[in-house]
């Protein structure tokens, strides 16, 4: 990284004002190049593996160059909407959450690649279909899940006699009460972040049987006993196990709180364990990960599926299609997953017992959680109305307001009003 950045700096400085950074990207090089838009990986070896091993291998085999364009974590939606609006900029891209649905008609139908991979590599988890199949056609090839799991301090839990992670929310609540009294509260995000708040709130809601909108995409069903139960639980969970600040937390807050040893339990992706192992090994030793607790109606997890999609308007789309097919073959996919240990959880069952899971066995629950993972807003169809609800934090704020004292009835009514407006039902 360092030599690359220094080289970049010198290059630009030398070129001066007339440098390449001023001119718009002109046409392609003489030989074919496929531009692959990706977000910087949390695990640098993953990106390195692509740039140093995969891309050169493909070029050797086919003569086609693959340009790996990296943009920072979280900025690909902006970049993708730009590409779609202008009709150019990249050929294949990473894509996640509800975006395959929002942009479905701009993405190439890749059902052939998906079917082939499914046959050859053990079949897809259902969650993969949920994330990438729009109206019967695969619009993206799911690459991996970045799951959200419970992180817990084994040492502090052991102090009160708890050796394994609680099975149900109620049991977790009892543990939380005791731990808060010992100055080791829980910390679950209730603010306006993006991942960590949805990561526990939606599974909580689902595990009590609550839903926003039915699968028909029309009926707003947030006002139900199940929702009320989930909210009541969240309220006491907050009051008795957490502290005020979580109401204003954004995604990095629980990571910081974990390293500062402020909290004993939270939900997060693998980043807490990864960071602790590298920078705070003593904390890493006593950190473990577990699936979400169960509610009366089951156990659920949030699905954050990273997929790869081809832009249908790309002049290179045939080349991109060939490349994606090559990339999805086990020969390439397997080692690429392995380069990131088990940070990326594959959606193909052939990898269920891959050696990479043994590198950090505490990540295995991420693999198991996929069977019960769903997109935010499930079972409502992922469309722009759902996207609007998520962007406006309707469900998050409903829970957060309840935690600060507003009555369950009122918060449900507000959320219902918002959803009805968004879904334009009477």
């Amino acid at each position: 990284m360092s030599s690359a950045s220094r080289r970049d700096f010198l290059k630009v400085a030398m070129a001066g004002a007339a440098g390449a950074t001023f001119a718009p990207a002109r046409g392609r090089a003489a030989d074919k190049t496929v531009t692959f838009l990706h977000e910087t990986s949390f695990i640098p070896p993953f990106d390195d593996f692509f740039q140093k091993t995969l891309a050169p291998a493909y070029e050797k085999e086919t003569g086609v160059k693959v340009a790996y364009e990296l943009t920072s974590v979280g900025s690909s939606p902006t970049r993708i909407s730009t590409i779609i609006e202008t009709g150019s900029g990249a050929d294949i891209t990473i894509i996640f959450l509800l975006y395959p649905f929002l942009y479905a008609d701009k993405l190439m139908d890749v059902s052939d690649i998906a079917e082939e991979a499914g046959k050859q590599q053990g079949g897809w988890y259902d969650a993969a279909r949920e994330a990438a199949v729009v109206n019967g056609k695969w619009r993206a090839i799911p690459h991996s899940n970045i799951g959200q799991l419970m992180n817990w301090r084994t040492d502090w839990f052991a102090e009160i006699g708890v050796k394994t992670f609680p099975e149900t929310w109620e049991e977790l609540y009892e543990v939380g009460k005791k731990l808060k009294a010992r100055d080791h509260p829980f910390g679950f995000e209730l603010g306006h972040g993006f991942g960590d708040n949805h990561g526990w709130i939606y599974p909580l809601l689902w595990s009590y049987g609550g839903h926003e909108v039915e699968a028909d995409g029309k009926t707003v069903v947030i006002d139900s006993d199940e929702t009320a139960k989930a909210i009541d639980f969240a309220r006491k969970f907050f009051k008795d196990c957490m502290f005020d600040d979580v109401l204003g937390w954004t995604d990095p807050s629980n990571n910081k709180a974990w390293m500062a040893e402020q909290i004993s339990c939270t939900n997060n992706a693998e980043s807490i364990l990864w960071f602790a192992n590298r920078h705070f090994p003593d904390i890493g030793k006593v950190t473990d990960q577990a699936q979400n607790p169960q509610g009366p109606k089951g156990r659920f997890h949030l699905l954050d599926c990273q997929s790869h999609a081809i832009f249908d308007f790309s002049p290179q789309k045939e080349e991109a299609h060939k490349f994606l097919r090559w990339l999805t073959a086990e020969k390439q996919l397997g080692p690429w997953y392995a380069s990131a240990d088990s940070y990326y959880q594959p959606f193909l069952r052939a990898y269920d017992n891959a050696p990479m899971w043994q590198v950090e066995p505490r990540n295995i629950p991420y693999r198991d959680a996929m069977a019960t993972a769903h997109l935010p807003g499930w079972p409502a169809p992922p469309d722009r109305r759902l996207a609007e609800s998520v962007a406006k934090y309707v469900i998050v704020d409903m829970f957060a307001k309840a935690c600060t004292g507003t009555s369950t009835k009122e918060v449900i009514k507000t959320a219902e009003g918002q959803l009805k407006d968004i879904y334009k039902t009477a």
């Binding site: 909407s81 929002l102 701009k106 100055d183 979580v246 406006k392």
Partner: protein
């Protein structure tokens, strides 16, 4: 103003109309319009056009990647029905008014304190501008850490005084969160206010103070009847800038709380961004952003009238 004799004579002589091209260029109107052409074109292209475009967008049902259909005022009606929208509007007004008042009063105090001669004054003046210079997003990240109850110095003091651990949650409680963003905005803008007002103070002729003292005016009366009236024009200008910037503020909230907790710190700019860039609803996002214009115009007209009257 001294008038030279030659110019008097020139004025007395009747002017011949210069009908050459150069002469035409020199006519006031021609010269002016030609000179202003480039900047006006620039502004028309990069402000005027987007503004018109933005207005049209707000009247369309347009999401990313799809063509828009004209829907009239539907987006605005959606906004008016949206409780979050009204919360956002209220937040923006409260934020702007509170922060501006604090900056005005604090800035005046700073200016008065600095309007004296002392050692290293120039260095101190430059140092005081640092909050204004440092990129907002970066200082906001620092504030994020400073406001974390586990690390906050204020919380430590309060806990020492008997407040139960962990102390107030500056970013988790809606009221305190609004207080926090007002405070950070004030911290950032007060020095700029102060230094500018200081410059104004330095142009007040000392004779006026002397005359007032001779007439028996107290310190406070001197301030009220000599200083303040002379400072009014500059207070007005700085306040106008400040109001416009604060009203349209985006960075501070985006980095600190992203509008939380529960929309307590959500402003027009951040809400429009979430809707437009997060949900891909360009039309709806534009409608929220457009609502800033009448609100801002109202604030400014009110401010100007008040200043003119007082």
């Amino acid at each position: 103003m001294s008038i030279r004799t030659e110019s008097l004579i020139t004025l007395a002589r009747p002017r011949r109309r210069d009908v050459s091209f150069a002469g035409w260029l020199d006519r006031e109107a021609v010269f002016s319009w030609l000179m202003m052409a480039l900047p006006l074109l620039f502004l028309a292209a990069l402000v005027g056009y987007p503004l018109v475009y933005g207005v049209l967008l707000s009247l369309e049902d347009r999401s990313v990647g799809h063509t828009g259909h004209f829907v009239g005022f539907k987006n605005f009606i959606t906004d008016f029905h949206d409780p979050v929208f009204w919360r956002v509007a209220a937040n923006t007004f409260v934020y702007t008014i509170a922060a501006t008042l604090l900056k005005m009063v604090g800035g005046l105090g700073l200016a008065l304190a600095m309007n004296q001669d002392f050692w290293m004054k120039n260095l101190i003046r430059a140092l005081l501008l640092l909050p204004f210079i440092v990129p907002t997003v970066l200082s906001t990240v620092a504030w994020m850490w400073m406001l974390d109850p586990a690390f906050s110095v204020v919380n430590r003091i309060l806990i020492g005084l008997g407040v139960p651990k962990p102390g107030p949650s500056w970013l988790g409680t809606p009221l305190l969160a609004m207080f926090s963003i007002i405070m950070i905005n004030t911290w950032r803008g007060l020095p700029f206010y102060g230094i500018t007002l200081l410059a104004g103070l330095q142009t007040v002729p000392p004779e006026l103070y002397e005359a007032a003292t001779i007439d028996g005016a107290s310190g406070w009366q001197r301030f009220r009847f000599v200083t303040l009236p002379l400072l009014k024009p500059i207070i007005l200008i700085v306040t106008l800038f400040s109001v416009i910037f604060t009203f349209a503020d985006f960075q501070l909230v985006y980095v600190l709380t992203h509008g939380g907790p529960q929309n307590a710190t959500n402003l027009f700019a951040t809400y429009a961004f979430d809707i437009g860039m997060g949900a891909g609803q360009l039309g709806l996002g534009a409608s929220v952003a457009l609502m800033m214009l009448p609100a801002l115009a109202l604030l400014i007209v009110g401010l100007t009238l008040y200043m003119r009257r007082a």
